[in-house]
Amino acid sequence: MFPELTGYLFPNDVHIHWSLMIVMYPYITGLVAGAFLVSSLYHVFGREEFKPLGRFALATALCFLAVAGLPLLNHLGHPERALNIVVTPNFTSAMAGFGILYASYFIILLLEVWFVFRIDIIDTAARSRGLKRRLFALLALGVYDTSEEAQRIDHKIIRVLAAIGIPMACLLHGYVGFLFGALKANPWWSTPLMPVIFLFSAMVSGIALLIVLYQVAMKIKGMAIDREAISAMARWLWLFMIMSLTLELLEIMMLAYERAEEWEVISHLLTHQLSFSFISLQMVGGGLIPLILLGIVVLMGSYMDDRIRNTLTMVSSLLLLLQVLAMRWNVVIGGQMFSKSMMGFREKYVPGLFEKEGILAAAAILFIPFVLLVIFDKFLPTFRHVGTQEH
């Protein structure tokens, strides 16, 4: 089927080369960065209210990071050559940094997870038999020291790793924003605000994901939802969503007020091609509504019944998860809905359900980390009952 077009497009600009997969990639790395920073709020900054989530947030970051490369691999015309990025990197390309950033962040995260769960790994090895015992003995890397002295050193190392991880997570995700922001050919992408917007929206999506997962996990495990943790997450979520929404609006308002040349194209883009995903989803449904709901939670939280607070934060988080997805879509797909002739538009783009880079593939990739998380939790306790000693 040939796309519906208006105006004049350069003949090669009719195609959407960066598909749904390229929407998923920054979405997933955003979730990673956000979840990691929540765990760091506890491990580095000692925010005690995040204690119940410290381990779980870290496991979540790891499970999502494990699949972050999949959408890219699925998108590449030649995935078998993917390692060329590492073997023959062209360092003038922002993208060439991918392998290095991804690998080093992965190592930091793995190390931190190992130190945080080390005692549990040893416990599990000691308590089980057969294959499981051997597997966990292997995971313990031959270190069985669980003395208090050893645990104290663990804590120090975790703190350092988490601290190194913060700039690494920011780099990994900020770099994705940079990929778009540094392309002068595309006025919808080319803004220094892009990496900043990406970072703030990453925080939003990561915290929102943890709020949803935490509540679901507590329900499944029959554990009590920690009031302090939810209230604190709601506060941080509110702050980051305000920042993120403000930046997103500022970018548009600057263009509009400047009456920059590109505004002609972008105003048309926002009011036509992206009217639903930008105005309805990103700004109103996923922006204004959670802003109000979270505002209620934050400002009136102390008078609120736990169930209402939990429901309001849950609904806001789900809306914000959608908002950030819409934002990624609007950036990636929106930037390809107009031609670089600045005279023509593609009317719409709907990814196919069964296409190689279609909706089903995206859903499958997004589903994997949840499975990984369940498996992780089966072997290593991501939550502990309140009151037990925790890292």
Partner: protein, 261 residues
């Protein structure tokens, strides 16, 4: 170079000329394409073995006042380079600029089959054709962004893609401000105009230049002091596309209008 500014007479006069060409275009092209695939015995053709890329610096010159929009170049390019359907290494745009109001621009199928007569009811003040292709920029964003170095510039000034090394990420396609690149659906790698590198390094012209019936397209060599194209660049007022982006295009235009982007 006497032929410029005759687009003032365009509306009535050019129309019939266009009509004639769009009808006869494919016939002409058919013949010329055959000429292109004939053995390389013609004119200055060499085997290319003694080609020294340090002794050439290729540029391209388009005289928009000469182009008649026949689309032969687009067909010749497709035939010569096996360009997949609906993808274009070169194309021709038609501009119709009314006395008042917005310019009307089109390029149906990249002008591969020429143009239909003007039917938008505009009272056209001026009209012209603009052939487009890769600008082989010297400071090009496509090479800058290629993560693996598959996009590169030759010493003689041609921007190429190594299809054996390209991973098909599409970053260069996004980075090109001129829409000159695409992902080839057959090879799944980035694809673009090669300035017929396989031909120019053997002393031949590019397919599009070879076939252009009016001499609107020309290839020049900066290292050749007697090259008439270089003389034009040195003495006439030439322009490039989107100069504000500072990509330093090596494809130059005569008679460009401010409407052209």
């Amino acid at each position: 170079m006497a032929a410029q500014d005759n687009h003032r007479k365009l509306p009535s006069g050019a129309m019939s000329r266009r009509d004639f060409l769009s009808r006869s275009g494919s016939a002409v092209a058919g013949g010329m394409v055959i000429a292109l695939i004939l053995p390389e015995d013609s004119s200055a053709g060499t085997s290319g073995a003694d080609y020294d890329w340090n002794r050439h610096r290729w540029v391209y010159l388009i005289d928009t006042s000469k182009c008649i929009g026949c689309g032969s170049c687009v067909r010749a390019c497709r035939a010569e380079n096996s360009v997949p359907e609906k993808m274009y290494r070169t194309w021709v745009e038609r501009y119709e600029i009314p006395m008042e109001g917005e310019a009307y621009v089109d390029s149906p199928d990249g002008s591969e089959h020429g143009f239909d007569p003007v039917a938008n009811g505009l009272s056209v003040g001026k009209g012209f054709f603009v052939p487009k292709l890769c600008n082989h920029c010297r400071a090009t964003p496509c090479i800058q962004v290629c993560p693996v170095g598959a996009s590169f510039a030759t010493r003689d000034g041609v921007v190429l893609v190594d299809p054996e090394h390209c991973i098909g990420c599409g970053y260069c396609v996004q980075a090109c401000p001129f829409g000159s690149r695409f992902i080839n659906p057959e090879t799944h790698t980035a694809d673009k105009c090669t300035l017929c590198y396989h031909r120019i390094t053997k002393g031949m012209k590019t397919a599009c230049v070879e076939i252009c019936p009016v001499g609107a397209r020309r290839v020049g060599d900066r290292e050749n002091p007697d090259d008439p194209v270089i003389e034009i660049l040195a003495t006439r007022r030439v322009e490039v596309l989107q100069p504000e982006l500072l990509t330093r295009p090596q494809c130059f235009y005569l008679g460009l209008d401010m409407e052209v982007r």
